[in-house]
């Protein structure tokens, strides 16, 4: 898929996230042409255990009927964990994260 198509789906998921969860502080997108990769910062989730300080996204398959043409991985972490946890290796570095509003 093109990066534009992936970004469009990322924005759609970000909109859905903001509409359903008012506690979301920020949403970051990690650009990739194979899947949508998002990290949501939200206070109201359990802290990541200190003995396994990694980001574990929830992964879902593509679903064209629901307007989700690409697979996706979305992680929910606390705001103070941003930049500190280990990302899934294929996601690259934290510096690649782009804030996405979903507006």
């Amino acid at each position: 898929m093109t990066l534009n198509e992936i970004e469009s789906m990322a924005r759609y998921l970000a909109r859905e996230a903001r509409a359903s969860e008012p506690g979301i502080f920020k949403i970051y997108w990690f650009p990739n042409t194979e899947e949508v990769r998002l990290i949501e910062l939200i206070e109201d989730v359990p802290a990541t255990p200190s003995d396994d300080p990694r980001v574990y996204p929830f992964y879902f398959p593509a679903n064209n009927a629901a307007g989700l043409p690409a697979p996706s991985g979305v992680a929910l972490i606390r705001p103070d964990e941003f930049g500190k946890l280990e990302l899934p290796p294929e996601w690259g570095r934290w510096e690649l994260a782009m804030e996405i509003s979903g507006d």
């Binding site: 255990p49 398959p61 307007g67």
Partner: protein, 172 residues
Amino acid sequence: MSWKKAFIKQAVSDFDMWQRLGKTPPGHPPSADCHRLHYLQMATEKLSKGICAQDSHPPPQTHAMFVKLLKHLKQRPEIRDAMGYRDKSVQFVSNIDSLMDLAMKIERLAPSLAGEHGPNSEYPWHDPRTGRVIAPCEHSFSAFTPGNFAMSRMLKFLDRLFRLASDGRIAR
């Protein structure tokens, strides 16, 4: 088999055990609540982990995954549609929000999250109020009785969710 599929398969099997233990054959005493609840806690934890797992990498070890999963599921359009809430996103979110307190209680049935004095479905604990040591098999887990309104909503939700998992509509 991939880690993801293995976790989801085991979660579905655990959920099946939760349901089976609720059907007592005539002439047999019902099993203690803790045993059923142990399977319910494991089923929800493993389903959450299965969705988190990658094909070639196992999921996290933590037991605190179910509440996080529900928070994420309410954002998913395909899950909303598949669970019968197409064009009813407000109701879908509201339904899941109403399940969060009970979801936390299910999550805390795991001994490591229940703490030293909290009821859990596996190991005896010390109740500091009464000074007694309590065995799970003699404890009435009142928040989880099927007659409880929140519990009946939770079970309806989980029944649909595990059916999706069983049909392979969650794992990619």
